[in-house]
Symmetry: C2
Subunit: 76 residues, 2 copies
């Protein structure tokens, strides 16, 4: 699967989950220990995110990284 598609769908999934928590990008960034502009670029699929950041994002969303990827895979 092309890298761009994976990151686009990953970003869309993170955005949906963040919004379902009612968090702004800024609130979520604080929760995840990441910078707000970084979260924005992840949500737009612009980042080839690391596994470590995937973990932090999943933890901030109160889920495991494997559960987050299961949601991503369902959309691919």
């Amino acid at each position: 699967m092309p890298k761009k598609e994976l990151m686009t769908i990953f970003g869309e999934t993170v955005r949906e989950l963040r919004e379902s928590h009612g968090w702004s990008q800024e609130q979520f960034a604080v929760e995840a220990g990441l910078h707000r502009t970084y979260v924005g670029s992840v949500e737009r699929g612009e980042r080839n995110i690391t596994l470590n950041s995937t973990w932090r994002i999943a933890e901030a969303l109160d889920m495991s990284a494997s559960s987050l990827l299961t949601l991503v895979e369902a959309k691919l």
Copy 2:
């Protein structure tokens, strides 16, 4: 969880799965479309691997990325 621990356990898990297929690092690298020395450094936990490379490694191991991470999470 510390970044180092995640990458160490991720690398150990990839090594175990690769060996269970009976593949050398070189054979596996060809299968995954990655460089042999890169695979070696991933297995030693030396790389903060990207999500994209995680996907390629999982595909080469005939499993989904979420399934690979489930195995990693079970060891954390």
